[in-house]
C-alpha cells in the first residue's frame, strides 16, 4: 500500500466517516424533530381533547409559529446539542470503563467555563481582546481549560474514587456527590477572593467578531393562509465556533479511541478489566487516561457553553450536567456514538419545548426543564439500554 493510499484510508476512516456520521445524525435528528414539532403544532392548534391546559393564547396559530420558528429552533438546538454531547461523552467514557456515574463531571464542566472566563479576562485586562486574533483567543481558552479540567478529573479520580474501587457501588457515587459539592464552593471561594464576585459574564462584547457577526442561513417567505409569513434565521459567530470546535474535538476523540494504541487499551479495559490487565495493559493508567480525556472534553464544553450563553457561575454545572447525563442515557450509556446522537436529540427537544411552551398560558417556559427529566425517566423505564446501546443481561 502506498503512502498516498494509506493517507486516503486514514482520512476516510478517521475524518470522513465520523464527519459523515455526525452529518447523518444531525440531518436525521433534525428531520425527526421537525416532523415532531410540526405534528405537535398541527395537533395542538385546537386544544387536544379539549384539555384546557393545552390551550394556546387566543390569536396564536401554533402551526404558523412552529413553521416560522423552525429554522431558529434547529440552529439553537443543534448548537446546544453539541455542548451536551461533549459533556455526555465524559459521562459515557467513565461509565464505560468504571461502570459508575461520575457525578462530579458536571463540576468539571463548570470549572472549564470558569477557566475560559479567566483566560478571556486575562487578555481583556492586558487590553489584547480587541486586537488579537479571535481564533488564537478561542484556542487559548479551549486549550487552557482542557488541560486544567483534564488534570482536575484525573486528580478527582485519584483522590476520591480510586480508594473506593472495590466498595459497593453506592459508595463512589456518594463520594462523587461530595466532590461535586466541594468543587462548587471551592470555585466560588476562589472567584470571590480574586474577583470579589462569582457571577461571571464573558466579555464577549469586547470581541467584535464574537458579538456582531451573524451569517444569514434562510431568509424567505412562504404563503400561509393567504398571507406571506417570513421564515428566516441566522447563526451567530458564537454558535459557529461551538459547532466547529465540537466537531473537531469529536473527530479527535474518535481517532483517539478507535485509532491509537492507548484508545485500544481503554476499550479493552472497558470490556474486561481483569483480562486487560493479564494482557499487560496498565489498568490504572487507562482509567486515569479516560478521566483525562473525559475531563478535557468537559472543560472544552464549559468554554463553549460560556461563549454561547455568556454567563457562568459556580453552580451552573448541575442542570447541564443532568441534561448531558440524560443525553448519554438516551444514546446508550457507555456508547460514544450514542452520546453524540443523544446530545443532539436532547438539544433539539429542549429548543422546541422552550420556544413552544410560552404560547400556553397555563404552562410557560419554566416547565422546559421538566421535559428533560421526563425523557430521562421514560427512557430508563422503556429502553434502559438507550437508542444505540445493547441490552446487557444480568449475570448471576
Amino acid at each position: 500500500m502506498s503512502a498516498w493510499q494509506r493517507a486516503a484510508n486514514w482520512t476516510l476512516l478517521y475524518v470522513l466517516r465520523p464527519l459523515g456520521q455526525i452529518a447523518l445524525f444531525i440531518v436525521l435528528s433534525a428531520l425527526i424533530m421537525s416532523a415532531l414539532a410540526l405534528t405537535i403544532g398541527f395537533v395542538l392548534r385546537t386544544p387536544w381533547h379539549g384539555i384546557s391546559a393545552l390551550k394556546t393564547y387566543p390569536n396564536i396559530d401554533l402551526l404558523r409559529q412552529v413553521i416560522t420558528q423552525l429554522p431558529n429552533m434547529l440552529v439553537d438546538g443543534i448548537t446546544i446539542g453539541f455542548v451536551y454531547a461533549m459533556i455526555a461523552l465524559g459521562y459515557t467514557l467513565v461509565y464505560g470503563v468504571l461502570k459508575f456515574v461520575n457525578f462530579a463531571h458536571s463540576e468539571v464542566f463548570m470549572v472549564g467555563g470558569v477557566v475560559g472566563y479567566e483566560v478571556m479576562q486575562f487578555f481583556s485586562s492586558a487590553k489584547q481582546l480587541q486586537t488579537m486574533s479571535p481564533v488564537l483567543l478561542i484556542l487559548a481558552m479551549l486549550l487552557t481549560s482542557m488541560v486544567i479540567c483534564g488534570l482536575l478529573a484525573v486528580a478527582i479520580e485519584r483522590l476520591a474514587y480510586k480508594p473506593l474501587r472495590n466498595a459497593p457501588r453506592l459508595v463512589p457515587l456518594i463520594s462523587a456527590i461530595g466532590v461535586s459539592f466541594f468543587l462548587q464552593d471551592f470555585v466560588r471561594a476562589i472567584e470571590a477572593l480574586a474577583r470579589n464576585q462569582f457571577n461571571l459574564s464573558y466579555p464577549t462584547s469586547d470581541v467584535p467578531l464574537l458579538s456582531n457577526v451573524r451569517f444569514p442561513l434562510i431568509n424567505t417567505q412562504i404563503l400561509w393562509n393567504g398571507e406571506m409569513v417570513p421564515v428566516a434565521t441566522s447563526i451567530n459567530m458564537n454558535s459557529v465556533i461551538v459547532i466547529i470546535s465540537a466537531i473537531l474535538m469529536l473527530i479527535g476523540l474518535n481517532y483517539f479511541v478507535n485509532g491509537t494504541k492507548l484508545g485500544k487499551g481503554i476499550r479493552a479495559v472497558s470490556q474486561d478489566q481483569g483480562t486487560a490487565s493479564l494482557m499487560g495493559i496498565n489498568v490504572n493508567l487507562m482509567i486515569s487516561l479516560t478521566f483525562l480525556v473525559g475531563g478535557a472534553l468537559g472543560g472544552a464544553a464549559g468554554v463553549l457553553f460560556g461563549l454561547k450563553t455568556g454567563k457562568i457561575t459556580p453552580y451552573i454545572g448541575f442542570i447541564p450536567g443532568l441534561k448531558a447525563f440524560t443525553a448519554a442515557v438516551l444514546g446508550g450509556i457507555g456508547n460514544v456514538t450514542g452520546a453524540l446522537l443523544g446530545g443532539i436529540l436532547l438539544g433539539l427537544l429542549e429548543a422546541f419545548f422552550s420556544s413552544l411552551l410560552p404560547y400556553f398560558p397555563a404552562l410557560g417556559s419554566g416547565y422546559s426543564d421538566i421535559f428533560a427529566f421526563a425523557i430521562l425517566i421514560l427512557i430508563l423505564i422503556f429502553r434502559p439500554a438507550g437508542l444505540l446501546g445493547k441490552k446487557v443481561d444480568e449475570k448471576v
Partner: protein
C-alpha cells in the same frame, strides 16, 4: 495468665469515664449546661462558646448511652437533658429551641430516608420532594394570603384541621412514594439515584411554576405562588391556658419573655417533633426487626437471591418508598406550620443531599446513628458555620481586640463567610466519610460487615474486578443484631 498484656495508661478523662461513669456523664452535661448559662449574647466570644457547649449538650444523650451506667440512670439523665435543660435554655434564648426543633425535623426525615437507603439499599437523591409534598399540602390549604390567589380554598380548612392534615401529609407522601417507586422498580444503583434526583427536581420545578394554571389569559389561578412561595400559613391553635402556663413558668424562673406567643409555639413544636420523632424511631426500629425489615436487608444484599428466596420485590420496594416518604410528608406539614412560609428554595437538590449527608455521617441503617448524624450535621449547618461568620464579624468590629487583630480579620473578605460555604464542608465530609468510614459514625453492625467484607475480600483477589460481586457475608441465624 502471667503474660497478660499491660493496658495502656488511661488519661484522667478516660479513667473517670471508666471508673465513675455516672459522675462523668453528669459532669459532661453539667459543664455544657454551665457554659450555656454563663455566656450572654453581648460577649465577644459568645458564638464560640455557644457553638461548643450546645453541640456538647446535644450529643450528651449519646455519650451517656455509651457509658457503662445502669439503664435506669441513663434514661433519667437523657430525660433531664431533653425535658428540663433544653426547654430551660430555650426559655432563656429561643434560638436553642429553634435548633432543637430543626434537629428533630431533620432526624425524623433522615430516619425516613434511612428506611429507603439504609434498610432497602435504594439510593434516593430526590427525597426532599416528599417533604415538599407535605409542606405544600398544608401550605396551600392553610395559607391566609393564599386565599387571594386560590379562590377561597382556605375557607374549607380551619387551623384545627392541622392534625387531620398531618395524616393527610403522611398519606399523600406515601402515595407520591409509590408513584415514584412504580416506574423505577427495575432500576438499580446509579440509575435509580439519577431518576430519583430527576423526580425531586421535577417536583421543585412544578411547585415553582404552578403560579398560573388557568388557560384563559384574563384570569390567573395561582396555586403555589411560584418562586415567591406561600406565606401566612396557619399554625394549629393552642388553648389560652398553654400561653398562660408558659408565661407563668417564665415568671417563676425570673426570665423575661418578649414574645410569649412565639416562644409558646416553639415549645409546642419542640414537643410535637419530639413525640413524632420518637414514634418514627419506634416504627423504624420495629420495621427493621420484622419480616419486612429482613426482606429489605435481603433485597439490599442480593436482589436476585432475595427474589429466588421468594421475597416479593415489587411489594417490598414500594413499601420502602412509601414508608420512607411518609416520614418526610409528616415533617413537611409540621415544617410548613412552624415556618408559616414555604418556597421552592427549601426543597432543592441541596436539601436532599443534606439529608443524605445526615444518614451517611450517622451510619446507614442505624437509627441511633441517624439521630446522631442529624444532631451533628444540623448543628454544623445552622449553628457552627453561622457562628463562625458571626465571630469573624464581631472580631472585625469589636473594640475589645487589639487593632492588629482587628485588621487581620478585616483583611478576610466578606465573600468568604463560613456560613455561605456549607457545600464546601459537606462535600469534604462526604468524601472523607466514604474513604475512611463508609459505614458511618455509629454503624449498623450488619451494614458494616457488608462493606468490610466487600472491600476486604476484594483486596485479596489478584485482580480488581468491579463487575464481579463478591459473595455476601456469612449470615448467622440471629438477625436481631442488625439494629
Amino acid at each position: 495468665m502471667a503474660t497478660q498484656e499491660q493496658p495502656r495508661p488511661l488519661n484522667p478523662v478516660q479513667s473517670l469515664a471508666v471508673r465513675q461513669p455516672v459522675i462523668a456523664g453528669v459532669l459532661f452535661i453539667a459543664i455544657a449546661t454551665g457554659i450555656l448559662l454563663i455566656i450572654t449574647r453581648q460577649q465577644l466570644l459568645f458564638p464560640f462558646w455557644s457553638s461548643i457547649a450546645f453541640p456538647m449538650l446535644a450529643v450528651s444523650p449519646f455519650i451517656v448511652f455509651a457509658l457503662k451506667i445502669p439503664t435506669r440512670i441513663k434514661l433519667l439523665l437523657v430525660l433531664v437533658v431533653i425535658l428540663l435543660i433544653i426547654p430551660y435554655l430555650g426559655l432563656k434564648d429561643s434560638f436553642y429551641l429553634e435548633l432543637a426543633v430543626q434537629i428533630g425535623i431533620f432526624a425524623a426525615m433522615a430516619m425516613g430516608l434511612n428506611i429507603v437507603v439504609g434498610f432497602a439499599g435504594l439510593l434516593d437523591l430526590g427525597y426532599i420532594a416528599f417533604f415538599a409534598v407535605g409542606a405544600y399540602l398544608w401550605g396551600i390549604f392553610a395559607s391566609k394570603e393564599g386565599d387571594t390567589y386560590i379562590n377561597q380554598i382556605h375557607a374549607v380548612t380551619t387551623p384545627e384541621s392541622f392534625y387531620l392534615f398531618l395524616f393527610g401529609g403522611i398519606a399523600l407522601a406515601a402515595i407520591a412514594g409509590i408513584l415514584l417507586g412504580l416506574p423505577v422498580l427495575r432500576l438499580k444503583g446509579d440509575y435509580l439515584a439519577i431518576v430519583t434526583l430527576g423526580f425531586g427536581e421535577m417536583i421543585r420545578v412544578l411547585v415553582s411554576n404552578l403560579s398560573n394554571i388557568s388557560s384563559d389569559p384574563t384570569i390567573t389561578i395561582n396555586i403555589t405562588n411560584g418562586a415567591q412561595g406561600l406565606s401566612g400559613i396557619a399554625s394549629p391553635p393552642l388553648p389560652q391556658f398553654v400561653f398562660d402556663a408558659v408565661g407563668g413558668i417564665a415568671n417563676l424562673l425570673g426570665i423575661k419573655i418578649g414574645n410569649i406567643e412565639g416562644i409558646t409555639y416553639q415549645f409546642f413544636f419542640y414537643f410535637l417533633v419530639l413525640f413524632i420523632g420518637l414514634i418514627a424511631a419506634l416504627i423504624a426500629a420495629r420495621l427493621d426487626n420484622s419480616p419486612i425489615g429482613r426482606a429489605w436487608t435481603a433485597i439490599r444484599e442480593d436482589e436476585i437471591a432475595a427474589r429466588a428466596m421468594g421475597v416479593p420485590l415489587v411489594r417490598m420496594k414500594l413499601l420502602a418508598f412509601a414508608t420512607g416518604a411518609s416520614f418526610a410528608g409528616a415533617m413537611g406539614v409540621i415544617y410548613a406550620a412552624k415556618q408559616t412560609f414555604v418556597s421552592p428554595e427549601s426543597f432543592s437538590f441541596n436539601q436532599s443531599i443534606f439529608i443524605l449527608v445526615i444518614v451517611i455521617v450517622g451510619g446507614m441503617g442505624s437509627i441511633r446513628g441517624v439521630v446522631l448524624g442529624a444532631v451533628a450535621v444540623t448543628l454544623l449547618n445552622l449553628q457552627i458555620l453561622p457562628n463562625l461568620s458571626l465571630l469573624l464579624n464581631s472580631f472585625k468590629n469589636s473594640n475589645e481586640v487589639s487593632a492588629s487583630v482587628q485588621n487581620f480579620f478585616k483583611s478576610i473578605p466578606s465573600q468568604l463567610e463560613p456560613a455561605k460555604y456549607q457545600r464546601f464542608v459537606f462535600g469534604i465530609l462526604l468524601v472523607l466519610m466514604m474513604i475512611y468510614r463508609p459505614a458511618g459514625i455509629l454503624p449498623a453492625s450488619r451494614r458494616k460487615l457488608e462493606i468490610d467484607e466487600q472491600m476486604g475480600k476484594a483486596k485479596d483477589e489478584a485482580l480488581p474486578r468491579s463487575d464481579v460481586e463478591p459473595e455476601g457475608p456469612f449470615i448467622t441465624e440471629d438477625p436481631n443484631n442488625a439494629a
